[in-house]
Symmetry: C2
Subunit: 512 residues, 2 copies
Amino acid sequence: MLRTLHRIAQANVQQKTRQLISCVAVRYSSAKVLTTETMHPLIKNVEYAVRGALPIRAEALSAELKAGKKLNFDKVVFCNIGNPQQLNQKPITFFRQVSSLCENPELLAPENRELLSKLYPADAIARAEVLLKNIGSIGAYSHSKGIPFIRENVAKFIESRDGYSANPEHIFLTQGASSGVQTMIQILTQNTSVGIMIPIPQYPLYSATISLVDAAPIPYYLNEEENWGLSTEDLKKSIEEGRKAGKDVRALVIINPGNPTGQCLSEQNIREIIDFCHKERLLLLADEVYQTNIYMPKERPFHSFKKVLLSMGEKYKDQELVSFHSTSKGMIGECGRRGGYFECVNIDEGVLEQLYKISSISLCPNVSGQIMVDLMTNPPVEGDASYAKYKSEIDGIFQSLQRRAIKLASCFNSLEGITCNAAEGAMYLFPRITIPQKAVEAAKEAKMAPDAFYSMAMLDATGVCVVPGSGFGQEAGTWHFRSTFLPEENLFDGFCSKIEDFHKDFLNKYRD
Amino acid sequence: MLRTLHRIAQANVQQKTRQLISCVAVRYSSAKVLTTETMHPLIKNVEYAVRGALPIRAEALSAELKAGKKLNFDKVVFCNIGNPQQLNQKPITFFRQVSSLCENPELLAPENRELLSKLYPADAIARAEVLLKNIGSIGAYSHSKGIPFIRENVAKFIESRDGYSANPEHIFLTQGASSGVQTMIQILTQNTSVGIMIPIPQYPLYSATISLVDAAPIPYYLNEEENWGLSTEDLKKSIEEGRKAGKDVRALVIINPGNPTGQCLSEQNIREIIDFCHKERLLLLADEVYQTNIYMPKERPFHSFKKVLLSMGEKYKDQELVSFHSTSKGMIGECGRRGGYFECVNIDEGVLEQLYKISSISLCPNVSGQIMVDLMTNPPVEGDASYAKYKSEIDGIFQSLQRRAIKLASCFNSLEGITCNAAEGAMYLFPRITIPQKAVEAAKEAKMAPDAFYSMAMLDATGVCVVPGSGFGQEAGTWHFRSTFLPEENLFDGFCSKIEDFHKDFLNKYRD
């Protein structure tokens, strides 16, 4: 308590210091060596909307509420990012039990066993012992590719998912999927003429990383009318344009299930994409982090690119594929963990060595993230003490996400001037909005894209933070935004009606 | 047990698959899009010795031992990297108690309190509650700069260390110190003419990162005869050469206490370095991760660059400084955690915004690493239930490191042709070895640097893995290696005598 009071006092001091330091900084900024004029130009130019202007304002509003300020809403709802536990999704009990035992091995000492057995199920204790036996201390740097034992488990997970063998030496554990994507895009970039095909709309990690390494994004458009499907004709058109522009197009990024678009590719479609990459000699980067967020499992099941590739036979045995997975999504939602992996399929052995070298410069992915990867790929199975609870938690989250996806889509579709495809997968909806001319002009005056203007108005009116479509890319002249459907189910109706009220007010204000 | 057997079986399958896949890879590598010919040239060229050829061989030997193979030794001793818990250093009990409670908040439920109080001290429970209250779930992405509450605590730690205020908004939590260093060197690099001064010998993170971003390392030499001291004359000489070569020299990297060299800079020396940077308009990158590994606290206490800078008054109020710290070193040694931070002092506000943007692309540093940063900077204090235990653990590790540093240095100095400066700080010794001409020729035949040849021979004879001086840089014609003094104290005499025997045999084999 005293400590807390002390903190508050300190915070005020720091507040003043902040103000002081920042005017000093402004007054003398010309005297600095490192300024926005002299810094790395590629860093200066990169854009990243998921955490851009809107979320920064959302954080500011959130701070104002904490400080007791009255606003149009009593809390900010962060729908700009797939961050389930931020919106109070419960972590999977078994996973946290195991990780907490790995954090505190003293609990496993014989003298604590009796007490421990009252707090932890036997299989959580057993799993922690197996992990610690194979890891040693979680406080030690691990192998730079990740703990070999865990990579073996990931390989077994992939084998049982796909029915084809996986090689632990071709699996790299990473700090979330993002860092793996960044590494692969960087190593693919030999010079500024290298082009990498990305979907539009896309998750801005791709455009940001491509511009950071000074490669060229080669956009291919997803077809909103066909529920964000893609045809090889679109791909052909796009690669031809890229090559006409003198680009050495080397790789194709595919996000399945889609982000922000939520579609799941059919096996047939995946086969066509692989065949296209094989014909055009493109390395495939498959972002499959939403592989368990599948809301129409009968009509639209998940097919891994690896499984489909290996089912296509000899002819494709050299097709290079890197598949990314993460502990942040699925029903797990352990985003803060920064756990993930990528699997390299048919990647040159020399390149694998280079990937190992480069990952060693950052020493290793954080070990608690690695442990979460182990748990994700190796969960309780029937017969384990924790299986029933694990299954009911996973099923509960899944069914709730499924319900919320449908509810939010129908909310959007009920609104004048909004159309929204259903989410077959992932955690997002990407509704298309018709923005009245008056609002377009107001946006122009505010020096904002119309969809950013709309989203900012939504934030100020409701506290709901979404990401404007312009942050993901969209067909010229169309406007969208991305919203997660992660708000708590018991608050979901209120969430939907807030958006409805805002939208109606917005239209009334700007109606042409 | 069954699961384990199953794993072994699987491992054999995977072993075969591996062999199969790798010959496929060789046979068709020419058909690949991504090869060592087409990959990013800067990644291909980068070198990183701490995890280079020697540790890779060490890992292989370690695997052979596990597989039951007989070697000259029964275990590999990894002295190539400062990884205390890998060599069985115990984690700090209080830290692990708090982190385990943050992992499993269910333990804090009222119904568990009575049991919990038998396993956890009251202050660990209280701390976990404060952290969770301020973090929310550790499974959620945090603020990209790190959890505000933890940055406030880090600021208070810096204030009480230095006696000058610190601004939480100028503190960035990171995945270990390495990722912060990589970000700062990248943002400093405007084009290939940018030069960054680094000490020789240096920690290869710096040379590796500089070559990855295609900047130029501007070496300045530490003076081995003066216990790795540096003079502003050396700095002047080095910057003049850099500028003569047309380089835009912008920043100076200083590692204090030194890695691999272990020296601690005097306050006077730090003042001279700051004055040099101010005159020459250089941003200071201060690697201060070993700030508590101080073995001669009376003669050679630690002085932070920030404290000395702010004590130098008005004239230096624009001197830019970034200081790096980590949870991996000190007495904590939580390397696997990937926790750390950097503090920006007098850094342009626009650049701070750019640093925030770039950190947001990786979403956030892992939260359990952030929690360890909080604990490191905010440990138990007198009066807390855990203080006595905390203090005895810290003191015990410190005194043991101090004894081992002295013992290993005197071991090295007792050997023919080896001279070794004492470690005033850090975790390493960097002995200088005279390598007989015959061995130099043998090394040449083996296409290895003489010190790499020596180190490889040591590994094969003793299982002790060190890093050749050529991995850090050294005066032309001199040869060194870096060894940690982290092997367990109860095994330390055996460790020293192994090295002695190897060295004598090596000299006898190659004596001129």
